[in-house]
């Protein structure tokens, strides 16, 4: 049980980045349907990426916007 699925690991990143060709994507999805081991890891990876994106967000300090605006060439 829990043997690493090499094929899947190879396709994980390009699959999630949506850069696989249609044929490869269908192949990947076909495999995911039948492989619980990989499916869990794919879902985890997908959530992890979304999570990193959300928690890494830090709004721009409002005073910075004013400083940037002041850098414009005067009319």
């Amino acid at each position: 049980m829990n043997l690493p699925c090499d094929k899947c690991e190879e396709m994980l990143q390009p699959y999630l980045d949506r850069v696989l060709s249609d044929v490869e994507r269908v192949e990947a999805e076909g495999h995911l349907e039948g492989c619980d081991y990989c499916r869990r890891r794919y879902r985890f990876e997908e959530h992890l990426r979304q999570y990193v994106r959300v928690v890494a967000e830090e709004p721009m300090p409002p005073e910075l916007k004013a400083k940037l605006a002041a850098l414009r060439t005067p009319l």
Binding site: H47, E57, T73
Partner: protein, 202 residues
């Protein structure tokens, strides 16, 4: 007024040209400022501190406003701004020699999941909830532990939402290098997360 017909046209044409240019410049400045929040989101994660990010933004915008003529209207302005910003950042890092020459540690793609599962003692039920057990601080710390070259690509693609192609143009590296650095950067990130976030929990 003593000017011939042709002569009389010149000052007027000049005035019109200057007015057109001023209008184009103002439009460029407005568009660039409208994108500042999105540019900052990326800039903030390219550097360690908020102060550095603010300095970098000001340097980048000052340069962008000076060289606005080299921007081609209709092309991706956010990518254009970030190209200026990442170049400045790379120059700074080089001057400060901040990047340590250590080889980053990385593990396979499933490393973090497997470690979380091992910590849990049974198969993880809900992947979304599992991810949310990682604290915000640990994610931010792990991200800043990823070495420069890998982090630049990771931040542009995974936080800035740029395509491989855009990231390649912004950083002026081949697309194959973007892909390999991205892949390795994510593996380094997950290894760092496994170390910092999961270690204490066990």
């Amino acid at each position: 007024m003593g000017y011939g017909a042709v002569m009389a046209e010149t000052p007027e044409t000049d005035a019109r040209r200057i007015a057109t240019e001023a209008r184009d410049r103002v439009r460029f400045e407005e568009e660039a400022l409208d994108l500042a929040d999105q540019v900052y989101r990326v800039a903030r994660r390219l550097v360690q501190s908020r102060e550095e990010a603010e300095d970098l933004m000001q340097d980048a915008y000052a340069r962008a406003f000076r060289s606005w003529r080299s921007y081609t209207p209709g092309t991706n302005l956010r990518a254009w701004l970030l190209r200026i910003l990442t170049n400045l950042n790379i120059d700074r890092a080089r001057k400060a020699q901040r990047t340590p020459a250590t080889q980053p540690m990385e593990e396979g793609d499933y490393f973090l999941y497997d470690k979380l599962e091992a910590t849990n003692g049974e198969p993880l039920r809900d992947e979304e909830r599992v991810v949310e057990r990682l604290s915000q601080d640990s994610v931010v710390d792990a991200l800043s532990a990823v070495p420069h070259d890998f982090r630049d690509v990771l931040v542009l693609v995974d936080i800035g939402d740029f395509t491989y192609q855009d990231a390649a143009q912004i950083l002026d590296i081949p697309i194959g290098t973007v892909m390999s650095r991205l892949h390795r950067g994510r593996r380094i990130l997950k290894r760092e997360l496994a170390e910092t976030a999961v270690g204490d929990d066990a």
